[in-house]
Protein backbone atom coordinates (compact mmCIF):
# COMPACT_ATOMS: atom_id res chain seq x y z
CA UNK A 1 0.00 0.00 0.00
CA UNK A 2 2.91 2.32 0.55
CA UNK A 3 4.10 4.43 -2.32
CA UNK A 4 6.47 2.77 -4.73
CA UNK A 5 9.92 3.49 -3.51
CA UNK A 6 12.51 4.05 -6.22
CA UNK A 7 15.14 2.34 -4.12
CA UNK A 8 13.04 -0.82 -4.09
CA UNK A 9 15.19 -2.11 -6.89
CA UNK A 10 18.28 -1.96 -4.77
CA UNK A 11 17.53 -4.48 -2.06
CA UNK A 12 21.19 -4.85 -1.24
CA UNK A 13 21.29 -1.57 0.61
CA UNK A 14 18.75 -2.51 3.24
CA UNK A 15 18.86 -6.26 3.11
CA UNK A 16 22.45 -6.30 4.18
CA UNK A 17 22.65 -7.03 7.86
CA UNK A 18 23.60 -4.28 10.23
CA UNK A 19 25.10 -6.44 12.84
CA UNK A 20 26.83 -9.79 12.71
CA UNK A 21 24.53 -12.32 11.13
CA UNK A 22 25.05 -12.30 7.41
CA UNK A 23 23.73 -13.47 4.13
CA UNK A 24 26.22 -15.03 1.86
CA UNK A 25 26.79 -12.67 -1.00
CA UNK A 26 24.82 -13.58 -4.06
CA UNK A 27 22.66 -12.19 -6.76
CA UNK A 28 19.99 -9.63 -6.05
CA UNK A 29 17.29 -12.24 -6.45
CA UNK A 30 19.00 -14.62 -4.02
CA UNK A 31 18.91 -11.91 -1.40
CA UNK A 32 15.29 -11.07 -2.07
CA UNK A 33 14.36 -14.73 -1.79
CA UNK A 34 16.35 -15.04 1.41
CA UNK A 35 14.42 -12.18 2.97
CA UNK A 36 11.18 -13.56 1.58
CA UNK A 37 11.66 -17.00 3.06
CA UNK A 38 12.47 -15.53 6.44
CA UNK A 39 8.85 -14.45 6.62
CA UNK A 40 6.93 -17.34 8.12
CA UNK A 41 3.58 -16.04 6.89
CA UNK A 42 4.92 -16.07 3.35
CA UNK A 43 5.78 -19.74 3.64
CA UNK A 44 2.35 -20.47 5.06
CA UNK A 45 0.84 -18.52 2.16
CA UNK A 46 2.88 -20.37 -0.43
CA UNK A 47 1.89 -23.64 1.21
CA UNK A 48 -1.80 -22.78 1.05
CA UNK A 49 -1.57 -21.74 -2.60
CA UNK A 50 0.27 -24.92 -3.47
CA UNK A 51 -2.31 -26.96 -1.60
CA UNK A 52 -5.21 -25.22 -3.35
CA UNK A 53 -3.64 -25.74 -6.77
CA UNK A 54 -3.03 -29.44 -6.07
CA UNK A 55 -6.48 -29.81 -4.51
CA UNK A 56 -8.22 -28.27 -7.50
CA UNK A 57 -6.21 -29.66 -10.37
CA UNK A 58 -4.86 -32.99 -9.10
CA UNK A 59 -7.63 -33.68 -6.60
CA UNK A 60 -10.24 -34.76 -9.14
CA UNK A 61 -7.89 -37.52 -10.38
CA UNK A 62 -7.61 -38.99 -6.92
CA UNK A 63 -11.10 -38.31 -5.61
CA UNK A 64 -13.28 -39.19 -8.60
CA UNK A 65 -16.85 -37.90 -8.58
CA UNK A 66 -19.71 -37.54 -10.98
CA UNK A 67 -19.84 -33.87 -11.96
CA UNK A 68 -21.52 -34.05 -15.34
CA UNK A 69 -24.91 -35.66 -14.81
CA UNK A 70 -26.87 -34.58 -11.79
CA UNK A 71 -28.79 -36.95 -9.60
CA UNK A 72 -31.61 -35.28 -7.63
CA UNK A 73 -32.21 -38.52 -5.73
CA UNK A 74 -29.18 -37.79 -3.62
CA UNK A 75 -29.64 -34.02 -3.30
CA UNK A 76 -28.84 -32.23 -0.04
CA UNK A 77 -27.24 -35.20 1.70
CA UNK A 78 -25.44 -34.28 4.87
CA UNK A 79 -21.72 -35.11 5.04
CA UNK A 80 -21.10 -38.83 5.33
CA UNK A 81 -18.42 -41.35 4.46
CA UNK A 82 -19.64 -41.57 0.87
CA UNK A 83 -19.81 -37.79 0.51
CA UNK A 84 -17.35 -36.18 2.95
CA UNK A 85 -18.81 -32.71 2.34
CA UNK A 86 -22.34 -33.77 1.49
CA UNK A 87 -24.15 -33.08 -1.77
CA UNK A 88 -25.70 -29.96 -3.27
CA UNK A 89 -29.21 -29.27 -4.52
CA UNK A 90 -28.89 -31.36 -7.67
CA UNK A 91 -26.90 -34.18 -6.11
CA UNK A 92 -23.35 -33.26 -7.07
CA UNK A 93 -20.76 -34.40 -4.56
CA UNK A 94 -19.77 -31.19 -2.77
CA UNK A 95 -16.09 -32.04 -2.28
CA UNK A 96 -15.70 -32.81 -5.96
CA UNK A 97 -17.65 -29.67 -6.79
CA UNK A 98 -15.25 -27.66 -4.63
CA UNK A 99 -12.30 -28.99 -6.65
CA UNK A 100 -14.00 -28.08 -9.91
CA UNK A 101 -14.89 -24.63 -8.59
CA UNK A 102 -11.32 -24.14 -7.44
CA UNK A 103 -10.02 -24.78 -10.94
CA UNK A 104 -12.22 -22.03 -12.31
CA UNK A 105 -11.55 -19.56 -9.48
CA UNK A 106 -7.79 -20.01 -9.71
CA UNK A 107 -7.74 -19.92 -13.51
CA UNK A 108 -9.76 -16.72 -13.61
CA UNK A 109 -7.64 -15.22 -10.84
CA UNK A 110 -4.33 -15.93 -12.53
CA UNK A 111 -5.48 -15.13 -16.05
CA UNK A 112 -7.12 -11.84 -15.08
CA UNK A 113 -4.02 -10.84 -13.11
CA UNK A 114 -1.81 -11.62 -16.10
CA UNK A 115 -3.97 -9.53 -18.45
CA UNK A 116 -4.16 -6.65 -15.97
CA UNK A 117 -0.43 -6.65 -15.40
CA UNK A 118 0.50 -7.00 -19.08
CA UNK A 119 -1.73 -4.13 -20.16
CA UNK A 120 -0.77 -2.05 -17.15
CA UNK A 121 2.98 -2.54 -17.58
CA UNK A 122 3.00 -1.61 -21.25
CA UNK A 123 0.68 1.35 -20.75
CA UNK A 124 2.62 2.65 -17.76
CA UNK A 125 6.08 2.15 -19.27
CA UNK A 126 5.14 3.78 -22.59
CA UNK A 127 3.50 6.67 -20.79
CA UNK A 128 6.41 7.27 -18.47
CA UNK A 129 9.02 6.92 -21.17
CA UNK A 130 7.21 9.10 -23.70
CA UNK A 131 6.61 11.95 -21.28
CA UNK A 132 5.08 15.25 -22.34
CA UNK A 133 1.63 15.43 -23.81
CA UNK A 134 1.39 11.66 -24.49
CA UNK A 135 2.11 10.95 -20.85
CA UNK A 136 -0.45 13.50 -19.72
CA UNK A 137 -3.20 12.12 -21.95
CA UNK A 138 -2.46 8.49 -21.07
CA UNK A 139 -2.42 9.19 -17.37
CA UNK A 140 -5.58 11.30 -17.42
CA UNK A 141 -7.33 8.35 -19.06
CA UNK A 142 -6.13 6.16 -16.19
CA UNK A 143 -7.25 8.77 -13.65
CA UNK A 144 -10.68 9.03 -15.22
CA UNK A 145 -11.16 5.27 -15.25
CA UNK A 146 -9.89 4.98 -11.68
CA UNK A 147 -12.61 7.41 -10.61
CA UNK A 148 -15.11 4.65 -11.29
CA UNK A 149 -14.76 2.19 -8.38
CA UNK A 150 -13.55 -1.32 -9.21
CA UNK A 151 -16.75 -3.13 -8.37
CA UNK A 152 -19.00 -0.49 -9.91
CA UNK A 153 -17.15 -0.88 -13.22
CA UNK A 154 -17.23 -4.65 -12.90
CA UNK A 155 -20.98 -4.72 -12.32
CA UNK A 156 -21.52 -2.45 -15.31
CA UNK A 157 -19.43 -4.58 -17.66
CA UNK A 158 -20.33 -7.85 -16.00
CA UNK A 159 -24.06 -7.32 -16.26
CA UNK A 160 -23.78 -6.87 -19.99
CA UNK A 161 -20.80 -9.01 -21.01
CA UNK A 162 -20.19 -12.02 -18.80
CA UNK A 163 -21.66 -15.08 -20.33
CA UNK A 164 -18.51 -17.19 -20.29
CA UNK A 165 -15.42 -17.65 -18.19
CA UNK A 166 -13.27 -16.11 -20.90
CA UNK A 167 -15.34 -12.93 -20.95
CA UNK A 168 -15.20 -12.79 -17.18
CA UNK A 169 -11.40 -12.94 -17.31
CA UNK A 170 -11.19 -10.19 -19.90
CA UNK A 171 -13.64 -7.96 -18.05
CA UNK A 172 -11.75 -8.26 -14.74
CA UNK A 173 -8.40 -7.80 -16.46
CA UNK A 174 -9.58 -4.71 -18.30
CA UNK A 175 -10.86 -3.10 -15.12
CA UNK A 176 -7.83 -4.03 -13.02
CA UNK A 177 -4.94 -2.83 -15.21
CA UNK A 178 -5.11 0.75 -13.97
CA UNK A 179 -3.20 0.36 -10.72
CA UNK A 180 -0.21 -1.47 -12.25
CA UNK A 181 -0.16 1.14 -15.03
CA UNK A 182 0.24 3.89 -12.45
CA UNK A 183 2.87 2.00 -10.46
CA UNK A 184 4.95 1.16 -13.52
CA UNK A 185 4.74 4.69 -14.84
CA UNK A 186 6.07 5.97 -11.52
CA UNK A 187 8.95 3.50 -11.68
CA UNK A 188 9.65 4.39 -15.29
CA UNK A 189 9.90 8.08 -14.48
CA UNK A 190 12.69 7.38 -12.03
CA UNK A 191 14.37 4.75 -14.22
CA UNK A 192 14.52 6.68 -17.46
CA UNK A 193 16.94 9.24 -16.06
CA UNK A 194 19.34 6.62 -14.69
CA UNK A 195 22.84 6.57 -16.12
CA UNK A 196 22.55 3.15 -17.70
CA UNK A 197 19.49 4.20 -19.67
CA UNK A 198 21.33 7.26 -20.88
CA UNK A 199 24.28 5.07 -21.73
CA UNK A 200 22.07 2.84 -23.90
CA UNK A 201 20.76 5.92 -25.66
CA UNK A 202 24.24 7.25 -26.28
CA UNK A 203 25.28 3.90 -27.69
CA UNK A 204 22.41 4.18 -30.15
CA UNK A 205 19.92 1.82 -28.51
CA UNK A 206 16.37 2.17 -29.81
CA UNK A 207 13.46 3.24 -27.65
CA UNK A 208 12.05 -0.24 -27.91
CA UNK A 209 15.29 -1.68 -26.58
CA UNK A 210 15.30 0.76 -23.69
CA UNK A 211 11.69 -0.12 -22.94
CA UNK A 212 11.86 -3.90 -23.12
CA UNK A 213 15.43 -4.60 -22.07
CA UNK A 214 16.01 -1.94 -19.43
CA UNK A 215 12.89 -0.24 -18.12
CA UNK A 216 10.40 -3.10 -17.88
CA UNK A 217 12.83 -5.68 -16.42
CA UNK A 218 13.68 -3.18 -13.70
CA UNK A 219 10.07 -2.77 -12.71
CA UNK A 220 9.66 -6.51 -12.18
CA UNK A 221 9.70 -6.13 -8.40
CA UNK A 222 6.75 -3.76 -8.38
CA UNK A 223 4.97 -5.84 -10.99
CA UNK A 224 5.32 -9.14 -9.15
CA UNK A 225 4.04 -7.66 -5.90
CA UNK A 226 1.10 -6.08 -7.64
CA UNK A 227 0.29 -9.23 -9.63
CA UNK A 228 0.05 -11.20 -6.40
CA UNK A 229 -2.54 -8.81 -5.04
CA UNK A 230 -4.30 -8.82 -8.41
CA UNK A 231 -4.90 -12.57 -8.15
CA UNK A 232 -6.40 -12.10 -4.69
CA UNK A 233 -8.62 -9.26 -5.87
CA UNK A 234 -9.74 -11.19 -8.94
CA UNK A 235 -10.79 -14.20 -6.86
CA UNK A 236 -12.88 -11.92 -4.63
CA UNK A 237 -14.29 -10.16 -7.68
CA UNK A 238 -15.39 -13.43 -9.27
CA UNK A 239 -17.02 -14.51 -6.03
CA UNK A 240 -18.81 -11.19 -5.61
CA UNK A 241 -20.09 -11.18 -9.19
CA UNK A 242 -21.37 -14.70 -8.71
CA UNK A 243 -23.12 -13.63 -5.53
CA UNK A 244 -24.75 -10.76 -7.40
CA UNK A 245 -25.92 -13.21 -10.02
CA UNK A 246 -23.86 -11.74 -12.83
CA UNK A 247 -21.11 -14.33 -12.82
CA UNK A 248 -20.73 -17.31 -15.08
CA UNK A 249 -23.99 -19.20 -15.61
CA UNK A 250 -24.23 -22.92 -14.84
CA UNK A 251 -23.03 -25.59 -15.58
CA UNK A 252 -19.73 -23.70 -15.14
CA UNK A 253 -18.93 -23.21 -11.49
CA UNK A 254 -16.50 -21.47 -9.18
CA UNK A 255 -16.12 -21.04 -5.45
CA UNK A 256 -18.14 -17.85 -5.47
CA UNK A 257 -20.95 -19.49 -7.39
CA UNK A 258 -20.98 -22.46 -5.03
CA UNK A 259 -20.99 -20.18 -2.03
CA UNK A 260 -23.83 -17.97 -3.25
CA UNK A 261 -25.71 -21.09 -4.27
CA UNK A 262 -25.29 -22.49 -0.78
CA UNK A 263 -26.50 -19.23 0.69
CA UNK A 264 -29.96 -19.95 -0.76
CA UNK A 265 -30.19 -22.75 1.79
CA UNK A 266 -28.98 -20.70 4.72
CA UNK A 267 -32.26 -21.18 6.60
CA UNK A 268 -32.39 -24.88 5.80
CA UNK A 269 -29.21 -25.40 7.78
CA UNK A 270 -27.19 -26.92 4.94
CA UNK A 271 -23.94 -25.60 6.37
CA UNK A 272 -21.78 -27.86 4.21
CA UNK A 273 -22.84 -25.86 1.17
CA UNK A 274 -21.64 -22.59 2.72
CA UNK A 275 -18.59 -22.99 4.94
CA UNK A 276 -16.25 -25.09 2.75
CA UNK A 277 -16.56 -22.78 -0.26
CA UNK A 278 -16.32 -19.68 1.96
CA UNK A 279 -13.25 -21.07 3.70
CA UNK A 280 -11.62 -21.94 0.38
CA UNK A 281 -12.06 -18.37 -0.89
CA UNK A 282 -10.84 -16.72 2.28
CA UNK A 283 -7.85 -19.07 2.69
CA UNK A 284 -6.72 -18.58 -0.88
CA UNK A 285 -7.08 -14.81 -0.80
CA UNK A 286 -5.33 -14.60 2.57
CA UNK A 287 -2.52 -16.72 1.16
CA UNK A 288 -2.02 -14.45 -1.84
CA UNK A 289 -2.07 -11.40 0.44
CA UNK A 290 0.54 -13.01 2.72
CA UNK A 291 2.80 -13.73 -0.22
CA UNK A 292 2.28 -10.27 -1.71
CA UNK A 293 3.07 -8.55 1.56
CA UNK A 294 6.17 -10.65 2.09
CA UNK A 295 7.37 -9.99 -1.44
CA UNK A 296 6.88 -6.28 -0.95
CA UNK A 297 8.76 -6.37 2.32
CA UNK A 298 11.57 -8.29 0.66
CA UNK A 299 11.79 -5.73 -2.11
CA UNK A 300 11.26 -2.71 0.03
CA UNK A 301 14.36 -1.96 1.97
CA UNK A 302 13.56 0.61 4.53
CA UNK A 303 11.73 -1.54 7.02
CA UNK A 304 14.19 -4.38 6.76
CA UNK A 305 16.71 -5.12 9.45
CA UNK A 306 15.70 -2.34 11.76
Amino acid sequence: MSAADPTANLPLAGALPEGGEGYRSGSMWRLILAVFFENRLAIVGLGIILFMVLFSFVGPFIYRTQQVFNNPNIAHLAPSLAHPLGTDQVGYDNLGRLMLGGQSSLEVGFAAAIIAVLVGVIWGAVSGLAGGIIDTVMMRIVDAMLAIPFLVALILLGAIFTTSTLELIVVIGLVAWLVPARLVRGETLSLRVREYVQAVRVMGGSTRRVLFRHIIPNTVGVIVVNATFQVADAIIAVATLSFLGIGVPPPATNWGGELSNGLSYIYAGYWWLIYPAGLAIVLTVVAFNFVGDALRDALEVRLQRR
Partner: protein, 313 residues
Protein backbone atom coordinates in the same frame (compact mmCIF):
# COMPACT_ATOMS: atom_id res chain seq x y z
CA UNK B 1 -0.35 26.79 -1.88
CA UNK B 2 -3.11 28.59 -3.80
CA UNK B 3 -1.36 27.74 -7.05
CA UNK B 4 -1.16 24.11 -6.05
CA UNK B 5 -4.85 24.04 -5.21
CA UNK B 6 -5.86 25.67 -8.48
CA UNK B 7 -3.76 23.22 -10.47
CA UNK B 8 -5.18 20.31 -8.50
CA UNK B 9 -8.80 21.46 -9.00
CA UNK B 10 -8.16 21.91 -12.73
CA UNK B 11 -6.83 18.37 -12.87
CA UNK B 12 -9.93 17.09 -11.08
CA UNK B 13 -12.20 18.81 -13.61
CA UNK B 14 -10.27 17.23 -16.50
CA UNK B 15 -10.66 13.83 -14.85
CA UNK B 16 -14.40 14.35 -14.43
CA UNK B 17 -14.81 15.27 -18.08
CA UNK B 18 -12.83 12.15 -18.92
CA UNK B 19 -15.16 10.04 -16.79
CA UNK B 20 -18.25 11.34 -18.54
CA UNK B 21 -16.74 10.71 -21.98
CA UNK B 22 -15.57 7.19 -21.12
CA UNK B 23 -18.84 6.18 -19.48
CA UNK B 24 -20.89 7.65 -22.26
CA UNK B 25 -18.95 5.93 -25.01
CA UNK B 26 -18.91 2.69 -23.08
CA UNK B 27 -22.65 2.58 -22.59
CA UNK B 28 -23.27 3.34 -26.24
CA UNK B 29 -20.87 0.71 -27.49
CA UNK B 30 -22.42 -2.01 -25.41
CA UNK B 31 -24.80 -4.49 -26.94
CA UNK B 32 -28.44 -4.02 -26.04
CA UNK B 33 -29.51 -0.52 -27.02
CA UNK B 34 -31.39 1.76 -24.61
CA UNK B 35 -34.45 1.73 -26.83
CA UNK B 36 -34.41 -2.04 -26.97
CA UNK B 37 -34.29 -1.97 -23.18
CA UNK B 38 -37.37 0.26 -23.05
CA UNK B 39 -39.47 -1.54 -25.65
CA UNK B 40 -38.51 -5.10 -24.82
CA UNK B 41 -37.21 -7.87 -27.03
CA UNK B 42 -40.31 -8.23 -29.21
CA UNK B 43 -40.49 -4.67 -30.48
CA UNK B 44 -40.65 -4.27 -34.25
CA UNK B 45 -37.79 -2.54 -36.11
CA UNK B 46 -40.03 0.35 -37.11
CA UNK B 47 -41.09 1.07 -33.52
CA UNK B 48 -37.45 0.98 -32.47
CA UNK B 49 -36.52 3.38 -35.24
CA UNK B 50 -39.32 5.74 -34.27
CA UNK B 51 -38.46 5.82 -30.57
CA UNK B 52 -34.78 6.20 -31.44
CA UNK B 53 -35.69 9.32 -33.38
CA UNK B 54 -37.96 10.62 -30.62
CA UNK B 55 -35.32 10.22 -27.93
CA UNK B 56 -32.52 11.54 -30.12
CA UNK B 57 -30.56 8.29 -30.22
CA UNK B 58 -30.22 8.58 -34.00
CA UNK B 59 -28.13 11.71 -33.70
CA UNK B 60 -24.33 11.50 -33.94
CA UNK B 61 -22.68 10.37 -30.74
CA UNK B 62 -20.99 13.70 -30.07
CA UNK B 63 -24.32 15.55 -30.35
CA UNK B 64 -25.88 13.09 -27.91
CA UNK B 65 -22.94 13.58 -25.58
CA UNK B 66 -23.28 17.36 -25.81
CA UNK B 67 -26.96 17.19 -25.00
CA UNK B 68 -26.33 14.86 -22.12
CA UNK B 69 -23.65 17.11 -20.64
CA UNK B 70 -25.91 20.15 -21.12
CA UNK B 71 -28.62 18.36 -19.15
CA UNK B 72 -26.09 17.24 -16.59
CA UNK B 73 -25.10 20.85 -16.00
CA UNK B 74 -28.75 21.50 -15.19
CA UNK B 75 -28.91 18.56 -12.78
CA UNK B 76 -30.96 16.59 -15.23
CA UNK B 77 -29.64 13.04 -15.38
CA UNK B 78 -32.27 11.73 -17.73
CA UNK B 79 -35.34 9.58 -17.26
CA UNK B 80 -35.46 5.97 -16.14
CA UNK B 81 -38.02 4.18 -18.28
CA UNK B 82 -37.71 1.08 -16.14
CA UNK B 83 -38.70 2.89 -12.96
CA UNK B 84 -40.70 5.63 -14.69
CA UNK B 85 -38.99 8.40 -12.73
CA UNK B 86 -36.34 11.02 -13.39
CA UNK B 87 -32.91 9.68 -12.44
CA UNK B 88 -32.20 12.77 -10.36
CA UNK B 89 -35.24 12.03 -8.22
CA UNK B 90 -34.27 8.36 -7.88
CA UNK B 91 -30.78 9.25 -6.75
CA UNK B 92 -32.07 12.06 -4.55
CA UNK B 93 -34.28 9.64 -2.62
CA UNK B 94 -31.51 7.15 -2.07
CA UNK B 95 -28.47 9.31 -1.61
CA UNK B 96 -29.16 10.16 2.07
CA UNK B 97 -29.48 6.48 2.90
CA UNK B 98 -26.19 5.57 1.28
CA UNK B 99 -24.50 8.59 2.80
CA UNK B 100 -25.73 7.48 6.20
CA UNK B 101 -24.41 3.94 5.71
CA UNK B 102 -21.07 5.00 4.22
CA UNK B 103 -20.56 7.96 6.54
CA UNK B 104 -21.22 6.14 9.79
CA UNK B 105 -19.08 3.18 8.69
CA UNK B 106 -16.24 5.46 7.68
CA UNK B 107 -16.25 7.38 10.95
CA UNK B 108 -16.46 4.20 13.02
CA UNK B 109 -13.71 2.62 10.94
CA UNK B 110 -11.30 5.49 11.59
CA UNK B 111 -12.14 5.55 15.31
CA UNK B 112 -11.46 1.81 15.59
CA UNK B 113 -8.61 1.41 13.12
CA UNK B 114 -6.27 4.13 14.38
CA UNK B 115 -5.87 2.75 17.93
CA UNK B 116 -5.64 -0.79 16.57
CA UNK B 117 -2.91 0.22 14.16
CA UNK B 118 -0.97 2.00 16.90
CA UNK B 119 -1.31 -0.98 19.21
CA UNK B 120 -0.10 -3.35 16.49
CA UNK B 121 2.86 -1.18 15.61
CA UNK B 122 3.97 -0.68 19.20
CA UNK B 123 3.67 -4.39 19.92
CA UNK B 124 5.24 -5.33 16.61
CA UNK B 125 5.93 -9.04 16.17
CA UNK B 126 4.45 -9.97 19.52
CA UNK B 127 1.49 -12.24 20.05
CA UNK B 128 -1.13 -9.48 20.11
CA UNK B 129 0.25 -7.95 16.93
CA UNK B 130 0.05 -11.32 15.22
CA UNK B 131 -3.55 -11.76 16.34
CA UNK B 132 -4.59 -8.28 15.20
CA UNK B 133 -2.70 -8.51 11.92
CA UNK B 134 -4.09 -11.97 11.30
CA UNK B 135 -7.64 -10.79 11.94
CA UNK B 136 -7.25 -7.81 9.67
CA UNK B 137 -5.86 -10.08 6.97
CA UNK B 138 -8.89 -12.33 7.27
CA UNK B 139 -11.41 -9.48 7.14
CA UNK B 140 -9.50 -7.87 4.32
CA UNK B 141 -9.50 -11.12 2.37
CA UNK B 142 -13.12 -11.92 2.89
CA UNK B 143 -15.61 -10.98 0.20
CA UNK B 144 -17.90 -8.33 1.70
CA UNK B 145 -21.02 -10.36 1.00
CA UNK B 146 -19.63 -13.36 2.86
CA UNK B 147 -18.92 -11.25 5.92
CA UNK B 148 -22.45 -9.84 5.78
CA UNK B 149 -23.94 -13.31 5.54
CA UNK B 150 -21.81 -14.65 8.38
CA UNK B 151 -22.96 -11.75 10.56
CA UNK B 152 -26.57 -12.53 9.66
CA UNK B 153 -26.04 -16.18 10.58
CA UNK B 154 -24.48 -15.22 13.90
CA UNK B 155 -26.63 -12.29 15.05
CA UNK B 156 -29.93 -13.16 13.45
CA UNK B 157 -30.13 -16.92 13.09
CA UNK B 158 -28.12 -18.10 16.06
CA UNK B 159 -28.48 -15.33 18.62
CA UNK B 160 -31.67 -13.77 17.28
CA UNK B 161 -30.59 -10.30 18.41
CA UNK B 162 -30.87 -8.27 15.26
CA UNK B 163 -33.01 -8.18 12.11
CA UNK B 164 -31.51 -9.76 8.98
CA UNK B 165 -32.65 -6.88 6.84
CA UNK B 166 -31.92 -3.19 6.80
CA UNK B 167 -34.80 -0.78 7.38
CA UNK B 168 -37.09 -0.93 4.36
CA UNK B 169 -39.64 1.81 4.18
CA UNK B 170 -38.51 4.62 6.39
CA UNK B 171 -37.37 7.70 4.59
CA UNK B 172 -34.76 8.16 7.27
CA UNK B 173 -32.84 5.02 8.16
CA UNK B 174 -31.72 6.44 11.49
CA UNK B 175 -35.25 5.97 12.82
CA UNK B 176 -34.62 2.21 12.85
CA UNK B 177 -31.12 1.84 14.19
CA UNK B 178 -31.57 -1.86 15.04
CA UNK B 179 -31.74 -2.70 11.39
CA UNK B 180 -28.71 -0.60 10.60
CA UNK B 181 -26.38 -2.38 13.01
CA UNK B 182 -25.47 -5.30 10.76
CA UNK B 183 -25.00 -3.33 7.53
CA UNK B 184 -22.85 -0.74 9.29
CA UNK B 185 -20.93 -3.49 11.08
CA UNK B 186 -20.19 -5.23 7.79
CA UNK B 187 -18.93 -2.17 6.01
CA UNK B 188 -17.00 -1.00 9.07
CA UNK B 189 -15.20 -4.32 9.53
CA UNK B 190 -14.02 -4.38 5.93
CA UNK B 191 -12.81 -0.79 6.17
CA UNK B 192 -11.13 -1.26 9.54
CA UNK B 193 -9.14 -4.16 8.12
CA UNK B 194 -7.75 -1.91 5.41
CA UNK B 195 -7.16 1.16 7.57
CA UNK B 196 -5.54 -0.60 10.52
CA UNK B 197 -3.01 -2.39 8.32
CA UNK B 198 -2.16 0.93 6.78
CA UNK B 199 -1.98 2.70 10.12
CA UNK B 200 0.35 0.00 11.43
CA UNK B 201 2.83 0.34 8.59
CA UNK B 202 2.59 4.12 8.70
CA UNK B 203 3.46 4.05 12.42
CA UNK B 204 6.33 1.62 11.81
CA UNK B 205 7.70 3.85 9.10
CA UNK B 206 7.67 6.86 11.40
CA UNK B 207 9.12 4.97 14.37
CA UNK B 208 12.42 4.48 12.56
CA UNK B 209 12.86 8.13 11.61
CA UNK B 210 15.77 10.17 12.89
CA UNK B 211 13.61 12.58 14.86
CA UNK B 212 12.49 9.71 17.05
CA UNK B 213 16.11 8.91 17.87
CA UNK B 214 16.73 12.59 18.59
CA UNK B 215 13.75 12.81 20.90
CA UNK B 216 14.83 9.65 22.67
CA UNK B 217 18.36 11.01 23.05
CA UNK B 218 16.93 14.14 24.62
CA UNK B 219 15.24 11.92 27.18
CA UNK B 220 11.64 12.22 26.02
CA UNK B 221 9.57 9.36 27.38
CA UNK B 222 8.43 6.61 25.02
CA UNK B 223 4.81 7.55 25.62
CA UNK B 224 5.40 11.17 24.63
CA UNK B 225 7.43 10.25 21.56
CA UNK B 226 4.68 7.97 20.41
CA UNK B 227 1.72 10.19 21.06
CA UNK B 228 3.22 13.56 20.20
CA UNK B 229 5.81 12.95 17.52
CA UNK B 230 5.07 9.65 15.84
CA UNK B 231 1.28 9.69 15.86
CA UNK B 232 0.99 13.13 14.27
CA UNK B 233 3.25 12.18 11.42
CA UNK B 234 1.77 8.73 11.03
CA UNK B 235 -1.74 10.16 10.67
CA UNK B 236 -0.83 12.19 7.60
CA UNK B 237 -0.88 9.29 5.12
CA UNK B 238 -4.09 8.05 6.74
CA UNK B 239 -5.82 11.30 5.71
CA UNK B 240 -4.96 10.46 2.14
CA UNK B 241 -6.03 6.88 2.58
CA UNK B 242 -9.50 7.91 3.73
CA UNK B 243 -9.87 10.16 0.70
CA UNK B 244 -8.56 7.55 -1.68
CA UNK B 245 -10.66 4.74 -0.30
CA UNK B 246 -13.99 6.42 -1.14
CA UNK B 247 -14.22 4.26 -4.25
CA UNK B 248 -13.52 1.07 -2.34
CA UNK B 249 -16.08 1.96 0.29
CA UNK B 250 -18.69 2.68 -2.38
CA UNK B 251 -17.94 -0.75 -3.85
CA UNK B 252 -18.41 -2.23 -0.39
CA UNK B 253 -21.64 -0.29 0.04
CA UNK B 254 -23.05 -1.66 -3.21
CA UNK B 255 -22.52 -5.21 -1.97
CA UNK B 256 -23.65 -4.45 1.57
CA UNK B 257 -26.87 -2.86 0.33
CA UNK B 258 -27.49 -5.95 -1.76
CA UNK B 259 -26.92 -8.35 1.11
CA UNK B 260 -29.19 -6.46 3.50
CA UNK B 261 -31.66 -5.27 0.87
CA UNK B 262 -31.04 -1.70 1.94
CA UNK B 263 -32.77 0.61 -0.54
CA UNK B 264 -29.83 2.94 -1.13
CA UNK B 265 -27.95 3.93 -4.25
CA UNK B 266 -26.00 0.69 -4.44
CA UNK B 267 -29.16 -1.40 -4.69
CA UNK B 268 -30.54 1.03 -7.26
CA UNK B 269 -27.38 0.63 -9.30
CA UNK B 270 -27.40 -3.13 -9.09
CA UNK B 271 -31.03 -3.32 -10.17
CA UNK B 272 -30.30 -0.93 -13.02
CA UNK B 273 -27.39 -3.10 -14.14
CA UNK B 274 -29.40 -6.29 -14.31
CA UNK B 275 -32.35 -4.61 -16.05
CA UNK B 276 -30.37 -2.58 -18.64
CA UNK B 277 -31.59 0.71 -17.16
CA UNK B 278 -29.00 2.83 -18.96
CA UNK B 279 -29.93 6.35 -17.74
CA UNK B 280 -29.80 5.18 -14.11
CA UNK B 281 -26.48 3.39 -14.63
CA UNK B 282 -25.00 6.48 -16.21
CA UNK B 283 -26.36 8.73 -13.48
CA UNK B 284 -24.98 6.54 -10.70
CA UNK B 285 -21.54 6.27 -12.29
CA UNK B 286 -21.34 10.05 -12.66
CA UNK B 287 -22.36 10.68 -9.07
CA UNK B 288 -19.91 8.08 -7.73
CA UNK B 289 -17.10 9.34 -9.93
CA UNK B 290 -17.79 12.84 -8.67
CA UNK B 291 -17.57 11.58 -5.08
CA UNK B 292 -14.32 9.73 -5.82
CA UNK B 293 -12.72 12.70 -7.54
CA UNK B 294 -13.75 15.07 -4.76
CA UNK B 295 -12.46 12.56 -2.21
CA UNK B 296 -9.07 12.45 -3.94
CA UNK B 297 -9.02 16.22 -4.26
CA UNK B 298 -9.79 16.85 -0.60
CA UNK B 299 -7.24 14.22 0.40
CA UNK B 300 -4.54 15.84 -1.69
CA UNK B 301 -5.27 19.34 -0.44
CA UNK B 302 -5.45 18.24 3.21
CA UNK B 303 -2.22 16.36 2.68
CA UNK B 304 -0.58 19.52 1.40
CA UNK B 305 -1.93 21.45 4.38
CA UNK B 306 -0.67 18.82 6.83
CA UNK B 307 2.70 18.27 5.19
CA UNK B 308 4.17 21.45 3.66
CA UNK B 309 7.00 19.50 2.05
CA UNK B 310 4.87 18.17 -0.78
CA UNK B 311 3.41 21.47 -1.99
CA UNK B 312 6.14 22.24 -4.41
CA UNK B 313 6.24 18.90 -6.13
Amino acid sequence: MIGYMIRRVGQAIVVLIGVTIITFILLHLLPGSPVRAILGTRASPSTIKQLNAELGFNKPLYVQYGLWVWNLAHFNLGFSYKLNQPVTALIGQRLPKTLFLVGSSLILAVIIAVPLGIWSAVHRNRADDYVLTGLSFIFYSMPTFLLGILLIILFNQTLNWLPFEAPQNQTYPWTDLNGMVLPVMTLTAVTVALFSRYMRSSMLEQMIQDYVRTARAKGVSNQAILMIHVLRNALIPVITLVGLSIGGIVSGAVVTEDVFNYPGMGLLYYNAAVSDDFPTLLGFVVVVALATVIGNLVADILYAVADPRIRYV
